[in-house]
């Protein structure tokens, strides 16, 4: 759901840029507090993996595709703020080098995917872990991944509506509807990757350890 240039009004993308800049600044400060030696290559690796996975569009229905967002994957592996930094790096490189998402819309894309989809997705995940039980780690991951994509798409619809691009009554159900399908793919991929790491190196999953401790 990378918004291109032209979809958002100036009165929408400028405030989105300001919120995104503030969110990244806050996330960088929070990340600096927890970063340790092993975290450095892990952030690099997760960013690279999510970038590659985002290129792999899968068909969701006739004539429509979706791809991993990776917000909950990054947040589960690295915590919400290092996760937001990771997704922001991916979005910035995609915008500057590959013209995926417009430069004017970059703030909104960071707001939707790195802040709402990642930090928001993390809080859904941690809330769900309390409800379903800490031991049902994967169930919380699956549900939060799905919700994070739908939530990010709703934020995108609201920005389109504020911009006068498409009325909320039309954009919101359309965006949430198609992303409810894409979210299933998100949930499957996120579950596959996290369960692989869980089996091989559970100590690398930041939020798995912190909940156990």
């Amino acid at each position: 759901m990378h918004i291109p240039d032209g979809f958002l009004a100036t009165s929408t993308w400028i405030p989105a840029w300001i919120v995104a800049a503030g969110g990244i600044g806050y996330s960088l400060r929070k990340t600096a507090r927890i970063v340790r030696d092993r975290f450095v290559p892990l952030i690099g690796t997760m960013a690279a993996f999510i970038f590659a996975a985002q290129m792999l569009n899968f068909p969701v229905m006739g004539g429509t595709s979706g791809h991993l967002l990776g917000g909950v994957l990054a947040a589960v592996m690295l915590g919400p703020y290092a996760g937001a930094v990771t997704i922001s790096v991916v979005l910035i490189v995609q915008c500057l080098i590959f013209q995926d998402g417009g430069l004017t819309a970059l703030g909104a894309n960071i707001l939707n995917m790195a802040l709402i989809g990642t930090v928001g997705g993390y809080y859904i995940y941690s809330g769900l872990r309390k409800i379903v039980g800490v031991e049902r780690f994967l169930l919380a991951v699956v549900l939060a991944s799905w919700f994070s994509v739908v939530l990010a798409s709703c934020a995108c619809a609201i920005e389109l509506a504020i911009s006068g691009t498409s009325p909320l009554g039309i954009a919101l159900p359309a965006m949430a509807g198609v992303h409810a399908l894409i979210g299933i793919g998100e949930a499957i991929i996120t579950a596959l990757v996290t369960s692989f790491v869980l089996k091989t190196r559970p100590d690398l999953i930041y939020t798995y350890r912190s909940a156990e401790a």
Binding site: M1, M46, M55, V93, D100, T104, S166, A171
Partner: protein, 103 residues
């Protein structure tokens, strides 16, 4: 052990980009689908605010589109790794400085 494990993950990312990205679905994504269906796709047909080096993940100068996409994918994966790694290393260094300067 950590390095080896993460190297395997990075290798997996590079292989995904190299082998699978040329075969990814080229159908419009969720937002593009909604934009087409609800009649605002043409709003995106503006001159981009920035001319990127590798627009639409196709490395210029390579005729075969699948090869161009695969190489763009590998380039991007390595670039993202480098930027994220470098940023995290800077944050770690900043943390170290704060610790040393503390009384």
């Amino acid at each position: 052990m950590d390095r080896k494990y993460m190297f395997i993950f990075l290798l997996a990312a590079i292989l995904l980009a190299l082998v699978l990205s040329p075969f990814a679905s080229s159908w419009p994504d969720g937002l593009e689908r909604v934009a087409e269906d609800k009649g605002f796709i043409e709003k995106g047909h503006v001159k981009p605010a920035l001319r990127s080096l590798v627009p639409d993940y196709i490395l210029l100068g390579i005729k075969n589109k699948k090869v161009a996409t695969a190489l763009a994918g590998v380039l991007g994966t390595l670039l993202v790794f480098g930027v994220a790694y470098g940023l995290a290393a800077l944050l770690r260094a900043a943390k170290g400085d704060r610790k040393r300067s503390a009384p």
